[in-house]
Symmetry: C2
Subunit: 339 residues, 2 copies
């Protein structure tokens, strides 16, 4: 397994080290090549994602990313120039974000119930395409636009993927989340696509909710969800809500998948580089380790993914909530439990 | 006070009756004219908002709306043809949505803390403008677009209103919520506008958060918010999150304001027509009564608004959470307490 590793900034390198530790414990054949991308490189060289690096990344089976960013980088630079560039260049059309409330993890909800959902967020279309502009900037007549682009090709493939995931789960339930009553053009494409693809998956029950109502139900009744499919921007928002009710983005894993296999998929914790706690060895590597689980699953090693996930579940259920986290200790424990 | 009343469908007429009862208790000079708009009229006549009705609505000081819709109306019809049409035609550029956790109201959060925020959502721009289209419909080459339009004129006036509200509140804090790192064109206009207007309000402290992070903090730390200003679509989502953590949309009031005073502003509970409980006299009219409070405040009668709000606060803090709600009893009680 040829793995490209982008440790990044802040706590990125710390959590990635533990992710690799666990990965190696279950898959000793990993050949990991580090790539220096992120805020540090940008400060040093002004480079974000040189073409030569992108070409090299393409030569791998998968990419593991820690986190990028520091307070010295203006907002938008790393997002558009590195993170979104990777998603678009590598055609990461499925942004996969499970949200599960593990035993032993405290939810901010008073009565969370059982939460185990899988958000399938579109990753290469919608309002994220960067299509927009500004006219008469800095005048009272300024106009700024943002265009959401949605294609049958793009919507169909992510909807199909979501159905495939849904049919493989015990509850076989899929919820489309959109705002079809207001965004009627894009909404109609999404609704019709879900309806069409659903004919191929008669075992899957389908529901629809407007994004505003859905975020509410994520808080008042999250147990009702199984698999969710949604557009890029709505997915950005609702996966943070889903993460919040299952213990925070500190626990949330994600995969950016090119389901066709043409390009390597990328796996990363949802949290950021957390400069405030960087270098202290107290970052929780759990989200990175869960992302390693997604990676193993994606690369056709579901039995290894299961081991990693079981290790995390066991560790979380037995953690002392008052003890300070030591990043490497958690990694050691998870590696031992998985291996 | 010349008030146009749109009771609407489902529980709409029931809650509006109580809202009017309370309004009359504090302002006996109300002259209320009912208008038949909503699902029932559409089923009967195919009409949504005839020009003649719109003209008549314009002749009033304010509009009070219950709720419209029933399961027989296809999604999008009443939204685009009536609700959004009213907002756009009457230039309701400020969508005002307070979210306060009252004593005696149960939040789904385990430790909600004190929540008292005022969301100022833009109401006439952004992705709600209906600018978009579909090309090659029902073919594998279909493309659907949605264009978010943002103008200096439109952003400035809602931002200014938010600052005016913030400076009048004890905490004098304003948070801009957007997604400036991805929607860079619109985001830049919003950020620059907030920065510019903030110079006129040196007492107001200003914060910025991305919408995904903000929805998370609404759940994990809602007390940090005072006034919020945001775009139309983000506002739609986050005000439902804010409602959820303060007891549900059943409790949420809203005002659609034309701050210039050219057109009548419209006040309505955020909840829908709830056909499942319609006609039983068990709908909670609290959100409508709180909307009447916003109406009184907007029409320059803040001392009457205070009475109504105090009545609601007292009633909520003394309600038996196990007793069934009787719509008219709550209305009677609130009218007596306010008058
Ligand atoms: C960093 C940012 C571009 C990104 C997004 O908006 O997708 C992040 O919020 C995420 O959810 O992965
Ligand atoms: C009914 C719908 C058009 C509306 C909106 O999206 O604004 C509603 O959700 C709201 O928040 O008032």
């Amino acid at each position: 397994m040829r793995l490209a590793v982008v440790p990044g900034d802040g706590i990125g390198p710390e959590v990635v080290a533990e992710g690799l530790k666990v990965l190696r414990a279950v898959a000793p054949d990993v050949e990991a090549t580090p790539y220096d991308l992120g805020a540090a490189r940008w400060h040093r060289t002004g480079e974000l994602l040189p073409d030569s690096v992108l070409d090299e990344l393409r030569q791998h089976d998968a990419i593991l990313l820690g986190a990028v960013g520091d307070p010295g980088v203006p907002s938008g630079i790393l997002e558009r120039g590195l993170l979104l560039k990777l998603r678009f260049e590598l055609d990461h059309h499925v942004n996969l974000r499970p949200a599960k409330l593990y035993d032993g993890v405290r939810s901010p909800l008073a009565r969370p119930g059982e939460i185990d959902m899988l958000c399938v967020r579109e990753g290469t279309e919608g309002p994220y395409v960067g299509n927009g502009g500004v006219l008469r900037r800095d005048t009272p007549h300024e106009i700024a636009t943002e265009v959401s682009l949605n294609t049958a090709f793009g919507v169909e493939r992510v909807v199909r993927y979501a159905f495939e995931r849904a049919v493989a789960r015990p509850r076989k339930h899929l919820t489309l989340i959109h705002k079809t009553n207001v965004l009627t053009h894009a909404g109609s494409l999404w609704s019709r696509t879900v309806e069409e693809v659903s004919a191929e998956f008669p075992e899957v029950t389908v529901a629809y909710q407007h994004v505003d109502a859905a975020t509410m139900f994520f808080i008042t009744d999250p147990s009702r969800y199984d698999v969710i499919v949604t557009d890029n921007l709505f997915g950005d928002i609702i996966t943070d809500v889903a993460a919040a009710v299952t213990g925070g983005i500190g626990m949330a894993a994600s995969g950016n998948l090119d389901v066709s296999g043409t390009n390597p998929s990328m796996f990363e914790p949802v949290h950021g580089s957390a400069p405030d706690i960087a270098g202290q060895g107290i970052a929780d590597p759990t989200a990175t380790v869960l992302s390693v689980g997604l990676l193993l699953d994606h690369l056709g090693r579901p039995e290894l993914a299961k081991k990693v996930n079981a290790a995390v579940a066991f560790d979380l259920s037995t953690r002392d909530p008052k003890a300070t986290i030591r990043t490497s200790e958690i990694g050691d424990r998870l590696a031992a439990l998985s291996g």
